[in-house]
């Protein structure tokens, strides 16, 4: 491995700082903590970059390092207590908003004949951008628990003990997250056709 190659990998790692910070922020919802986790992930990546050879998977590798740093951050914050804000939670659990998706018989209350058929021709970069925008639109607690589940792969018990959310409310929040993401992506798939 040449020095020039090493330098270019380090340069390339640095270009991921903004996206790593945004993903850490989705989970931690705290700019200082997200900045620390991002910084630690980048440092760890640069220190061990000589072990990394597959540049096509650089994003994958960096996100896996960030995942450990975010888990560390959550464990530290859990010791200080990181319960959800009950007022904010009750807003996110409010049923009125979701009732409009279905009519009184439980059928889709959609004005369209059919949903947009998701196309796979959208480039990966484009879909990462759209999905990230949709994740960012999720309410705070909804995105926190959704990322804990889908990214950090914590168990339901771990998420409940971390956030103070009951198992029943966790099920609702995960459902809402999936429903909102589907609706959000439906709009973007519609536009791409």
């Amino acid at each position: 491995m040449t020095d020039a190659y090493k330098t270019s990998v380090i340069d390339e790692i640095a270009t991921y700082r903004p996206v790593l910070f945004r993903i850490a922020m989705l989970q931690l919802r705290d700019a200082a903590a997200a900045e620390d986790a991002t910084q630690e992930a980048l440092l760890a990546a640069i220190q061990t970059h000589d072990k990394f050879e597959g540049r096509a998977a650089l994003r994958t590798w960096l996100i896996s390092i960030l995942r450990f740093k975010v888990l560390d951050s959550l464990r530290q914050r859990q010791r200080q207590g990181m319960p959800v804000d009950p007022g904010q939670l009750s807003v996110e659990l409010d049923t009125a908003k979701f009732a409009t998706l279905f009519d009184e018989t439980g059928c889709w209350a959609t004005p369209k004949d059919a949903w947009t058929n998701p196309e796979t021709h959208v480039s990966r970069i484009e879909f990462f951008r759209v999905l990230e925008a949709c994740l960012t639109k999720l309410p705070t607690n909804t995105s926190r628990v959704f990322l804990m589940r889908e990214w950090l792969e914590l168990t339901s018990d771990e998420i409940c003990s971390e956030t103070g959310v009951t198992a029943g409310n966790l099920r609702v929040l995960l459902y809402r997250a999936r429903m909102q993401l589907r609706s959000c992506l439906d709009v973007s798939w519609d536009r791409s056709q």
């Binding site: 597959g54 994958t60 059919a114 949903w115 796979t120 879909f127 990462f128 999936r178 589907r182």
Partner: protein, 72 residues
Amino acid sequence: MTNREPITCQDTTWLVSDSCERELTAEEKADLHGHIATCELCQGASKQFDVLFQQIRLFFSKDIQPGGDASE
């Protein structure tokens, strides 16, 4: 024929979400697949959920082996 009430589109979406969290019971699976087979909107929504779940896995880099190189 069963004497159970047929499930609604809304029930279907709950089962789709729950299926990410746990193994559905045989009865739930039968309800889910039975409803989707006869409902065009749920067929479309179901396809969207499949793509969404796949994209989420890619976004969080779950489908790619860390350290692997796709060009190899």
